[in-house]
Amino acid sequence: MLGYTDKIKEISERLLKEGKVDMVIGFKKGTMPMMNEPCVIKKAEDAGKLVWDSNCGINLANYLTDRKEKIGIIAKGCDSRNIATHIVENKIRRDQLVIIGVPCKGMIDRHKIASMSETEILSVTDAGDEIIVKAEDSEKTLKKAEVLQKNCAVCTHRNPVIYDELVADLVEEQKDADRYADVREIEAMSAEEKWKYFDDLLAPCIRCYACRNACPLCYCPTCFVDESRPQWVGKSTDPMDTRTFHFLRAYHCAGRCTDCGSCERACPAGINIRVLTKKLEKDCFESYGWEAGLTTEDRPPLDTYKLNDPEDFIK
């Protein structure tokens, strides 16, 4: 992704200078290795702060919700799909946006790379298809493809689906990715095993809601966890409450989730929460032929129906 940053700066500066947008939403370099911080640039002379590398995993569509300004936004494939979803759900208007598309080669898994190093990591830099990991007493070169975020490894929409500017030529899409291997593995378990699997998966959850808040789909004015009349779910870390929270959180993303991986990336407890949203993604694809965020024309699957939708489960 070399050269992306320069192009992003150039486009952003131009858009701001020409007054085409009031702000550009992008990433600036973080204070930590493998972390870039979402930021907003309002002046052309500040466009130089913008960066792009393999650490831009947070979904920027999250920062668009209900904004009124004219906005330039940097968008990799998944961001662009969530922007499309935002447009469909009336959380932003298309004509407010100048989408600066980024053909994406995947983001790296910061949890995974951190756990691969004995000592604290000092810096991680992109070098083409490789990344260089510097730690206290070592320097390692890793194949980027081997340390991608799990969702990126199976991504089939790396290129932005809608855009007004493009920072580089489109990249080749991954063709033979097996998107749902992990879901199938769980589906094959017995009810008992499934129950145990999720008990174990969700045990470290501290109910901080980072997964919910990192998700561009979660913008309800009052989340179901905050409703008190009636109260749907308890507030403690009781396993049943935690499970109810994760069930409903995932379900609210049904037919809308683009598998951008923000939830998992944000989770401070390192929980692989995508196995929940991916199940719904898979079902939507298999039952209704639906992939979220590919167009701004079609209604999402729970907002429409076909007369002959499958109903084997109904007596």
Binding site: T31, N36, E120, I206, C208, D226, G234, S236, R265, A266
Partner: protein, 352 residues
Amino acid sequence: MKVIKIDKKDWAGGLGKLSDAYRLFGPVKDKDVSDFKELAAGELPDFDFLNTNLSAKSAVFPQNEVMFEYSLDESQEDHHIMKEPEKDYSPRAVIGIRPCDAAAFLLVKRNFDTPEYKDPYWIRAYEASTFVGLACNDPGKTCFCTTAGCGPFHEDGLDVLIADAGDHFLAKAITEKGEALLQAAGWGAEADGGQIETMKKAAEAKISSTVSTDSLKDKVTTELYDASFWEDTAFACLNCGTCTYVCPTCWCFDIQDENYGKAGIRMRNWDSCMYPLFTIHGSGHNPRGTKTQRVRQRFMHKLKYYVDKYGAGIQCVGCGRCVRLCPVNIDIREVCEFMNSYDPAATTCKAA
């Protein structure tokens, strides 16, 4: 106080003896993540960690805690009357707590143990605890304890400081409580205290991250509050509660009644100033309704309100957890710098 040498081969045995007299809490690793848990019989604390994901505050202030029990069954004599549950406040030892986490208890104590009101749950658990600290020989890149009133070998708040010296631990009793614990464990071989001093200097020299806090107390609250940097600082914030939950000095909580048929409990749960629900009025009005207001509250509380209220420095021990675990890299060290160096006059001039 005296310094004891504990051969590592005597470590498990000593802990075994301790478990007769104390409930033991310590860092335990689960799927690569270290956190403080009550140790099962025979379970050893796992010292292979920079710092735990969550702080050790849960040993005294659990994320969910029963305050009262009640019955809603009107055939019962005492229905609808709150009753304090029986709780286990027998001696507990928190083994392997980092000095920063222990120092944090002292900051938090100012909130729970006030001249007017005493929080009985926190105080009883705190008083029942003996804190056995594990000094940091290799502090992390995000540790800024030495400029946050703390340090890798900091002793305030600890009862015993243990330093890992290779094949043995050096244990320094800091309080009588600590001395009693060492005795109960049967560790008694006296050692030279000088080595701890040397290790301490070496560890402190490794701290590369700092904050400046000297000017915070002189800032005018309302000026700092109205500063222009808050909007940019808060932009990336997702308003999740990660920073507050992992923080050893965040103490805010919510109170909830939970009913199970005709009985129930009043409990408290950690809460977070990051959540809109934290402050929303019954009318729907919310004095901290925006993300920027909530982010500002967190930093103003830690770095200004607390400083002014108690005159005892910032409400932060520099453990670096919020820096490491923030999903969007909001960094308290940067914000502290903005605040400490804030000059309203300069900002006004620039704008004009």
